[in-house]
């Protein structure tokens, strides 16, 4: 067996092992606290992957995406509490509303230059937060302003109501959502809309001269991204059973999503996941163990990591990590370095 294909086999084997590991984790890791951390990790990986559709592939910098998380969460929650609609159904409604809102906001703003687009998304995100914080009711639906909404606890595991006692179902739900989001991202990058989107994001004039209606593709990417992001919002609501504007609609949340994707590597498929894998544990650790002594330390760390990554690896940590992984593969399979295998 030549070294090239041996390396490829090892690569496939490692990936299978990782997949099995991730899928069987809850069977032996039973602590709900740790499972919760992992669930949040996957949730952030999911949300940054959906963010990536606009922020990575379309080449713009959305800094107000938490608004769409909020739209998803509030829509499904309000529909559930006011009309008894199962969150599984409400989820789709939330997604649709988010997509429409995203498209409406996107049409005028995606034409703006990078910095101005970023500012407009921030303004929109903050606008939504202020709006929600000031609304107590909308018709028969209770919004409750800044104090947020508590979702009534339904005892036992209730699939229809999207509530479970143990963390395990949540783990699998978010894992599957993440895989689907990754698949969607991967698939789009290989078909014509993906090429057009990337081209339009990089050199809009050149893309237009090649037949690409850049604005149309950007708006579609925005709508898709907002739709998927809102689904994550419903998940978050059902996980924590309590949503309020500061948590779900803040500028901090929007920025965290952007940071993770940027540090991991925007525009790549693995980037957001890697970013989440690195930053979330660091942030959680700092927050849990150090915030009593040094409040805000985890955000200082986020900021410093961001600065360093932008200074030395602006395309994200995906690149050096991929090279490192490749080096490991070489070592294990005994391949001489330089024999790159395209996997």
């Amino acid at each position: 067996m030549n070294p090239g294909s041996k390396k490829k086999n090892i690569d496939t084997l490692l990936k299978i092992i990782m997949a099995v590991f991730v899928f069987t984790l809850p069977l032996w890791l039973t602590s709900p606290a740790y499972l919760q951390i992992l669930i949040f990790l996957f949730l952030f990986a999911y949300l940054t992957t959906t963010w990536n559709l606009v922020g990575g592939f379309a080449g713009v910098l959305p800094l107000g995406h938490s608004a769409y998380v909020g739209i998803g969460a509030y829509t499904s929650t309000v529909l559930f509490i006011t009309y008894g609609v199962s969150p599984w159904m409400g989820m789709w409604v939330g997604g649709l509303i988010a997509a429409i809102v995203g498209a409406i906001i996107g049409i005028p703003t995606l034409k703006l230059r990078g910095a101005y687009f970023a500012l407009s998304t921030m303004a929109f995100g903050e606008g939504v937060r202020v709006l929600v914080e000031n609304t107590m009711t909308v018709g028969p639906c209770v919004i409750n302003g800044p104090r947020g909404i508590s979702i009534p606890l339904i005892p036992g595991n209730n699939l229809a109501a999207y509530q479970f006692v143990s963390k395990v179902p949540y783990y699998y739900i978010i894992l599957i959502m993440l895989i689907i989001a990754l698949f969607i991202t991967w698939y789009i990058s290989r078909i014509r809309p993906g090429y057009y989107l990337a081209a339009g994001g990089e050199e809009p004039e050149a893309a237009q001269a090649l037949g690409v209606n850049v604005a149309k593709y950007k708006v579609w990417a925005m709508a898709l991204s907002c739709f998927l992001t809102a689904l994550g919002g419903t998940f978050l609501a059902q996980l924590t059973l309590y949503i309020y504007p500061k948590q779900i609609l803040g500028l901090d949340f929007s920025f965290e999503l952007a940071f993770i994707a940027l540090i991991g590597g925007r525009g790549t498929i693995a980037g957001p996941v890697i970013g989440a894998l690195i930053l979330r544990p660091v942030g959680e650790f700092a927050r849990i163990y150090l915030s009593a002594v040094l409040p805000g330390l985890h955000l200082v760390i986020y900021g410093l990591v961001l600065i360093f990554v932008m200074l030395f690896q602006p395309r994200g940590l995906v690149e050096p990590l991929t090279r490192f992984y490749d080096w490991i593969l070489n070592k294990i399979s005994g391949t001489a370095p330089g024999k790159e295998v395209k996997s």
Partner: protein, 294 residues
């Protein structure tokens, strides 16, 4: 009726120091074409610097200016040189240097939370000789610190305009803002110019800090409030325009003081965002900016 006039007076004075705060940003944004999300943090640093100087020495806040200005200038210069310049250089070819936005966001997070770690979240105030004092103009009252603030704003803007128009460095800055490559071909060290522009922007933030101290709370996230507002003002007034920054500031100040008379103040916040978005869609160049291919 009287209430409205008082509101107009308050709004204009508030608007003046909003404009001053936005001044540094429009310079940086206009010259280096960098979105500096850390601008609010610079303001916060300026305020804390002023706070500690006054707290420790008991000086009059405007005397503290003599220390704060050079301190902040050096800080801004260093920040630009160490953190921002490498990113700018690497992104020279790129059409839209978003990495710079990201780096400055990192700086914002680091500065704000370092302040939180070092100084704690409590709101501080300093008692100065002018705190709480008021001028009377007929039936209307004008708090002294605010009036001095307006004076300082006008002085600073005038000084800045003079500097940009008549001094060599000022002209270099303007040249670099119009076309950085052409400027560097003319022998202008563009990065040194950027450093200085940034330093000036930071120094102005320091001035704002001193102006605000007599009547504003000092706390680590004070910058955030100003940050977003300053960007809105800069867009409204026109990127790189000094009179635009001041007028934009006054407009926002007036909106903030008049609208709450007719609706809750939090709805006013929303109005500001709506105005911002409207400007972006209708006339992204702002009131005084140049038209470009937005």
């Amino acid at each position: 009726m009287e209430a409205i006039i008082q509101a107009i007076i308050n709004g204009s004075m508030t608007g003046a120091y909003y404009g001053l705060a936005a001044l540094g940003l429009t310079l940086i944004f206009g010259v280096i074409k960098v979105i500096n999300f850390a601008h609010g943090s610079l303001l916060m640093v300026g305020m804390f610097a002023a706070y500690w100087i006054i707290h420790l020495t008991g000086w009059h806040p405007y005397a503290a200016l003599f220390l704060v200005i050079p301190m902040l200038f050096v800080f801004g210069y260093a920040l630009q040189g160490i953190v921002i310049k490498p990113v700018l250089e690497a992104q020279r070819e790129v059409r839209e240097p978003t990495e710079v936005i990201i780096v400055t966001t990192g700086v914002w997070y680091v500065l704000d939370n370092l302040a939180l770690m070092l100084f704690g979240a409590e709101f501080r105030t300093v008692k100065t000789s002018i705190t709480g004092q008021v001028f009377f103009l007929g039936d209307y009252f004008l708090p002294k610190p605010q009036v001095y603030g307006v004076v300082i704003t006008v002085l600073t803007s005038g000084l800045l305009l003079w500097f940009l128009k008549y001094t060599r460095m000022g002209k270099s800055i303007r040249a670099a803002s119009l076309d950085r490559d052409a400027a560097s071909l003319m022998g202008i060290n563009q990065y040194r110019v950027y450093n200085i522009a940034f330093g000036i922007g930071a120094a102005i933030a320091g001035i704002v800090g001193c102006v605000l101290i007599p009547f504003y709370y000092v706390f680590p996230s004070v910058g955030v409030i100003f940050d977003v507002k300053c960007f809105i003002i800069v867009v409204l007034g026109g990127l790189g325009s000094i009179p635009g920054a001041l007028i934009g500031g006054v407009i926002i100040g007036l909106i903030e003081s008049i609208f709450p008379m007719f609706m809750t103040s939090t709805w006013t916040e929303l109005i500001v965002y709506v105005v911002f978005m409207a400007v972006l869609f209708i006339r992204p160049a702002g009131l005084f900016g140049e038209k470009r291919d937005w």
